[in-house]
Amino acid sequence: MAGILELAAANLLSPMVLFFALGLAAALARSDLSIPEAVAKGMSIYLMMAIGFKGGAGVAAHGLDATLGLALLAGVILSAIIPLVAFQILIRASDLPRVDAAAVVAHYGSISIVTFLAANEALKISGIEAESYMVAVAAAMETPAIFVGLILAQSGVASTSHGENGKAPVGNLDTTALREVVLNGSIVVLVGSFVIGWVSGPAGLSSIEPFIVSPFKGVLCLFLLDMGLIAGRGLRDGSKQLSPSVVAFGLYMPLIGAAFGLVAGLLVGLSTGGVALMITLSASASYIAVPAAMRLALPEARPAIYLPLSLGVTFPFNLVIGIPLYIALAQAVSG
């Protein structure tokens, strides 16, 4: 128990969390601080490239674990099941229309790559190793939840007020949109870099290490400053639209997801670090791939609900409280 608190305190005072807090505070205080869009996108691509490449190079170095296939499968299943569970909870706990609820839960089935990165760094500080292919599991969990979310929205369309007045059917995911979801830029960079890292192996990694490894954590801090700014802005403007029951969902849903991730991680037989990452992925909520897919395929759902919930409530919760908790959990159970 002392371990958890210590880990939590260390986490709370880590540069990553503090830069996020700085961004949050600046936005809430209405400072004019902002990271240019191009720089934010550049950092996002950098982070995807780095994490993918390192994961792939790790697989090349340590060989393919027999559990990789299982872990990928578990990831896909988690990504599909968590939204179903979350939907049953959210529709009862709040008065959100079905369409909005469906969009929200798709975020919770999918994953937040920055939460994953922060958990990786926390593991590193604690000296715990994890399977390098976990980044592939992260990639595998990105999209299944989207399809489940759309099906949930579809099945409920007749009963919502949004679909009534003769509009096009919701959740209309044609092949163009399908391709756009699957070929989302950030997923392409993540998966592509994983493959490149795998093919070019440790030699390839060492040749670009001073770019993708050494400055990585610093870039992540700057990126978290930006995420703090966006989260703060979202909370400032969107707080009127988020009812207390929805905010509460954003706080307890990660723990439910975590429980699923924990079970899956143990069943698959991952290492302590791997279990911690599986928990983190399950507990985290998307704010890149899923919102984009929802705008395309489910425009009726309100982004003013799902964006601040994912970015302003669940993301900070995971960053500050969740990650040390999940690591402690993994240690307690699989140690």
Binding site: I35, E37, A40, K41, L229, I230, A292, P299
Partner: protein, 104 residues
């Protein structure tokens, strides 16, 4: 200089839907268009701002195309159908051009 009367259709639309709007243009053989990035805005769906955003969800684009008045309705209908499902607006105004045959 002699000029010809044309129509300028201007559309504000969320960035993610731009591709579809351009497909509509292609389908209806719009001869040309120009796209630029909006940086912030406000409307029925609330206020937004592009700075620092990484998901592309809250970015908007402005597209304008110069077409002949005779073709406005034909273009406007499918464009409006698309835009009204998403976040965005459509306006039409008068412009003069120098080479009339260039904008059909």
């Amino acid at each position: 200089m002699e000029t010809f009367k044309k129509k300028r259709i201007e559309i504000v639309i969320e960035a993610l839907v731009l591709k579809r709007l351009l497909e509509v243009f292609e389908k209806h053989q719009v001869g040309g268009y120009t796209v630029y990035s909006a940086q912030a805005g406000s409307g029925k769906s609330g206020a937004w701002q592009a700075d620092g955003v990484i998901s592309g969800t809250s970015e908007l684009r402005v597209v304008f195309c110069i077409v002949d008045a005779s073709r406005v309705d034909q273009v406007l209908e499918p464009v409006f159908k698309l835009v009204s499902r998403h976040i965005g607006i459509v306006t039409v105004s008068d412009v003069d051009v120098i080479r009339g045959d260039q904008f059909v």
